[in-house]
Every structure is written in structure tokens, then in C-alpha cells.
Point group: C2
Chain length 234, copies 2
């Protein structure tokens, strides 16, 4: 069995879509919420959408306690508070996949603009806040929650991954690539999240103009380029 | 005949590659340099590489004077000085395609990091510096100079375009799309250059890890997605 995953903020659009897609790929998912009842409701909805999927709904702190990999998909407005609340729960050896994006929408600004984060990025803020021994990897910023949740949509895009340890990024890449149509691309150290987190407001700006749910692909990595001529990697 | 183009800094790697590719698509190219002699040399080299291509080498200020579209491909270190020198030359009605990227390399920092620009982006700095009536569009940050210059390489990637007027962006899109394999994507207002300029250090970080010349594609715009199933747009 693949490693189970806990999704902190799993009742939100991105977290819920991710839960569905991972369950479709035989991953056991714990949906966390600051409201245990809402987590249970989301798990029930997920079970109805992915028959055979294994979902549990728990309060964030219970959800995070047992997780090897916890995914943080809360809005930026709640990131700091959520991590403060998890200080007694998260522990040495856990991997935190942070998907937080500091959209200016967090302070009633535009979703096509971002906020400056003192540490440089939301992911670096997360790394500063988690207990010692918890490592943060940043990813999933460019994946549309709407497309993740639309299980009839065939995904075909990249997930940009930033982190300070290769082995952590490899584990996150393995997790991401359980979902057909997603390819993980190592973008370098965690500080590169300063750039990757900015891709969300960029894609939102593109979405507004092109009435779509845009994503990103990196060209030049072989396999998926010139997909018209060559067999695709998957 | 397509509108001729002047490339300020056309002796540099990006400008020279762009000159070659545009000439291959029947565009007359004026290569500008702060050294008129070097501009002439570059034009001679370009003629040898693209037989039939029409290249002129001129000092930047002569090159820019007659151009409807001037492309600025100088390093960030030289952007401000170059625009100061062109204050008496650029004039109302011209379009400046700014490709400048504020890499930290400009001040001996890493090419995977960027500098903060007071105006928000190099493109916005350019807009502040040009004479009244000159409009700035930002683009071409994610195109590898090496791949542009390698005329045997088949390009297949997107060019992200930011600007405040739709008609200006449409003209730049037409220019970019003269080059086979490049698709222009409207990313919104000029301020979005704050994000798009950051893609260069991101791609450099990816290049280091993956030993490639990475580029960007936006998914979800139709046509080019799922190129394995559907005919490509071009």
C-alpha cells in the first residue's frame, strides 16, 4: 500500500480535490479540518465520489499526529494560525507538503497579486514555524482545484517542487505522481518557493483573460516535449 | 512585408538568437549595440547564419530612432543606462518590448535569485524611464538564448506577455508568433511582469538540476494540450 496521507485543510477546494485524486490512486487519505465534524462530512462526500476510496475525517491535530506526510492546503490567511495550533502535534521526521500561496486576496486584495512574506515565501514561513525535525517541501501551487475535483478531467501538467533535501522532494514527487497526468519537477531549494508561489496569481490572471483553468508545464525535460511526435511519458 | 524590428542589445545571446529567428521568418532586423562596430560585426555573422536574412548593424540610438518596435535585450545591469541614453531617441508611438530580468547575477549574486526593483519589475522601471507616449510590453523572459540561437532546434514553448494595452500585446504576440513553435500568452497588465520576470531564475534553477534549457508552457488554453490526442495548434 502507498503511504497514507493527511491533508490539513482537506475540506477546502484544493485539499478536497487532492484527496479525491489520491484515493483514486489507492492512497488512504485522512481529511483534516479545524472542525472535526466538517472533516467527517467531507470524508463522507469523498466516499460517495470515489467508491472504494478510503477516507477518514478528523480534527487537524488528530489527523496530523499520525501522518508521515501532511499536506497543508489552507488559505494563507490561516497558515500561521494552523501551524501554531499544530506545534504540539507535528513531530520530528514528518514531512510537511506546503501548498500555501500568499495571495493578496488574504487581505482583501486582488487574487492576481501577492503579499510579501517576511521569510520570503509561505513555505519558508512554514519551515520557520514547524517543530524541529519537521521538513517542509513546497508544491502544488499551480494545480487548479476545480480541475482536480472534476474527476472526468484528464490532468496533464507539471507540479513544481521546492525543498532543501533531495530525498524529501523525491518522496513528494512519488506522492504527486501517483495521480495520473501530473509530473513532479524539482525546482531547487525551498527558497525557490518565493518564485513558485507567485505562479498562482499569474495563472489566475491568465484564467481571467482566457476563461480557463490554466496550469504549467516545463519544456526541455524530455519525454513530454513535442508530444505530437514522440510517445508521451505517461 | 512584416514590420521590421530593432533589437537594442542585439549582440547579446538572447538578442542575437531572436534576430536570427525573426530573420528566418522574413523579418528585417536592425541589430543595435552601444558599439556600432560590434553591431555591424553581429549583422555580418547573422547574414552568414541566415542566408537571405536582412540584417543591419547600427549604434543603439540610430537603431532605435526608426523602429516601430524596439526590443530591449540588455542585461539588467545595463537596462537603466541604456534607456537613459535612448531618452532623446525613443519617441511617442513606439513600442518597447522589454525582456530584461533582474537577476541577482547583476550584482555578483546567484542567477537563481533576483533583485527587488523599486518599481516592482524591470519592465515597470522601463515604463517609468521611456519618454511619454512610448509603451512598454514585457515578454521573452523564458526563452533560452541557447535554443533560439541553435537554428536546428525546433522550438515548442510559450512566451508570456504582459502589458497595459491589449492592442500592444496583440502586436507583440504577432511578432513573437512569426517564429514557428512560439505561442504568445497574454498574462495581464504590465505589473504581472513582477512575476513573469521571476521565471528566468526559476528556469535557471531547473536547468542546473536537469542539465537542460527549460522553457514554459501554459496548459488549459486549448489546442496545444494533450497534444498526443489532438492535432497541435501549429
Amino acid at each position: 500500500m502507498p503511504t497514507p496521507v493527511c491533508i490539513i485543510g482537506g475540506t477546502g477546494a484544493l485539499g478536497f480535490g487532492l484527496a479525491l485524486r489520491l484515493a483514486q490512486s489507492d492512497t488512504e487519505v485522512v481529511i483534516g479540518s479545524r472542525d472535526g465534524g466538517r472533516a467527517e462530512e467531507a470524508a463522507a462526500r469523498a466516499r460517495a465520489l470515489v467508491p472504494g476510496g478510503v477516507f477518514t475525517g478528523l480534527h487537524n491535530s488528530e489527523a496530523a499526529a499520525g501522518a508521515e506526510i501532511a499536506v497543508l492546503t489552507v488559505p494563507f490567511r490561516s497558515q500561521s494560525e494552523t501551524l501554531t495550533n499544530l506545534k504540539g502535534t507535528l513531530h520530528d521526521g514528518q514531512l510537511l507538503l506546503d501548498a500555501t500561496v500568499p495571495l493578496a486576496a488574504a487581505v482583501s486584495g486582488k487574487a492576481t497579486r501577492s503579499l510579501g512574506v517576511w521569510q520570503g515565501s509561505a513555505a519558508q514561513q512554514a519551515q520557520e514555524m514547524v517543530p524541529a525535525g519537521v521538513r517542509v517541501v513546497s508544491a502544488l501551487h499551480t494545480i487548479s482545484a476545480a480541475l482536480l475535483t472534476d474527476l472526468d478531467h484528464r490532468l496533464d501538467e507539471d507540479v513544481l517542487v521546492c525543498g532543501d533535501r533531495r530525498e524529501d522532494k523525491a518522496r513528494i514527487a512519488e506522492l504527486v505522481e501517483r495521480i495520473p497526468g501530473l509530473r513532479a519537477v524539482d525546482c531547487g531549494r525551498l527558497e525557490m518557493a518565493r518564485i513558485v508561489e507567485q505562479l498562482t496569481p499569474l495563472l489566475i490572471s491568465i484564467n481571467v483573460r482566457h476563461k480557463t483553468h490554466a496550469g504549467i508545464k516545463i519544456t526541455g525535460l524530455g519525454g513530454d516535449d513535442h508530444a505530437g511526435d514522440r510517445p508521451a511519458r505517461r
